[in-house]
Symmetry: C2
Subunit: 278 residues, 2 copies
Amino acid sequence: MEESRQQSEKRNAPIGVFDSGVGGLTVVREIMRQIPEEPIVYFGDTARVPYGSKSRATIIRYSEQIIRFLKTQQVKAIVIACNTASAYALDEVRRQLDIPIIGVVRPGAKVAAQVTKNGRIGVIGTEGTIHSQLYTKVIREEKPEYQVIGKACPLFVPLVEEQWLKDQVTEEVARRYLKELQDSGIDTLILGCTHYPLLRSTVGKVMGENVTLVNPAYETALELKALLKKENLSFAGEEPEEKYRFFVSDDPTKFQEFADRILPCQVRQTKQIRIDEY
Amino acid sequence: MEESRQQSEKRNAPIGVFDSGVGGLTVVREIMRQIPEEPIVYFGDTARVPYGSKSRATIIRYSEQIIRFLKTQQVKAIVIACNTASAYALDEVRRQLDIPIIGVVRPGAKVAAQVTKNGRIGVIGTEGTIHSQLYTKVIREEKPEYQVIGKACPLFVPLVEEQWLKDQVTEEVARRYLKELQDSGIDTLILGCTHYPLLRSTVGKVMGENVTLVNPAYETALELKALLKKENLSFAGEEPEEKYRFFVSDDPTKFQEFADRILPCQVRQTKQIRIDEY
């Protein structure tokens, strides 16, 4: 009887999701669509954003601090909703954890390997994500004969943050970044950074309709759903009063504006915490 | 006698210079040119870069940590070689300090007020620098009738970091950002971010030869020189073995490459420290 109350408390605990800033909200959006009953605690590291150009050791240290914070929120599972942190830190932090944790890279890589017809897959992302070559490794584990071509696109995140989404400048930048991927004849392109789904139409226009764009956020939400089910952790309670809670490391104002644009629900309150004290 | 040895130790101590990352090296370059005998300790906050889009409170906290670190290096004076940190944190940290400290905003603002003929001055910088309106305040203190028009240019820093310095995309971005400054008839434009001097030729091309570009780095080095003289702190010893020392908060590799491109001397060694422990 006691056992079962404990299990139900665990089931009904929130999922922890974190990212370097606002980009991970595109993953939260997919989770909200796929498993709308699940409570979520989100952390965006807005005081130290971006992660994409920083070193592996620093990203691991930041991820460890964030996970210590999320544990204080009694999360039942963690999603690293940032490609760079998934690429650099997931294997490292998983070893130290007693709850399930997933990143966005593996789900995205797996579906790309299923979708491609010619075995040539492109990946675009931050310097860190491309440098880690994790997408390549995961795809090659399943299909050693596949070709994976990575390309870092450092200007895409600032262009999204400037909101130049369908813009002549952004299109010209995309043409330049994507040229070598076009020339290499890929038929599948992974949007390997959580900001990039917001550039989907520009990237799609440049790559043409014969290239399938893969958004790992969608696949990650599906994998999370399956994982919770498998681990007997799917939510089964009554809707909690504060279903979604948001935390950031810098002033919440800008974050909240962005969140209200991206998410299907209104963000009621975002709290600021000092993440370097965790 | 004892007094005089203490004074000479103080004189021959290094100058502390800090920035959010590599941009402040353009200020270091000017200091090396103007007062080549002075030893320098530089800190670049590469693990938390950029500062331009973060809040005032966060920038003050980061600046305080960095100043605590620089004090452990026995610096005799500090230069905030970052416009955003100068704009947000200088007045705040000066109160807590027993050594002289200067920023880059006041020297840049003062010379712009001298240079303009029509009393219309433009300022370009990060969101934080423009939002603080410090350039406007300093210019208006001297010349209340002057018009100061600020414009944030968030894409300029990533474009410099991508090294698209003389580039069609960069020129198009500059045309868009600078349009309202052109329309307002300014004759003087302050390059209010330490990365922007690297875009001088593109900005100059867009603005035309009738607009004078002001680089606060140069003026800051001159003000530092005058300050050291006035405070009896000019270096008067023998050239120390390690004249220039560089510290960063993230992996030093990329920093060192950038430094070697910008500085007139080779950077022998850059050390990584954990700035959030100060």
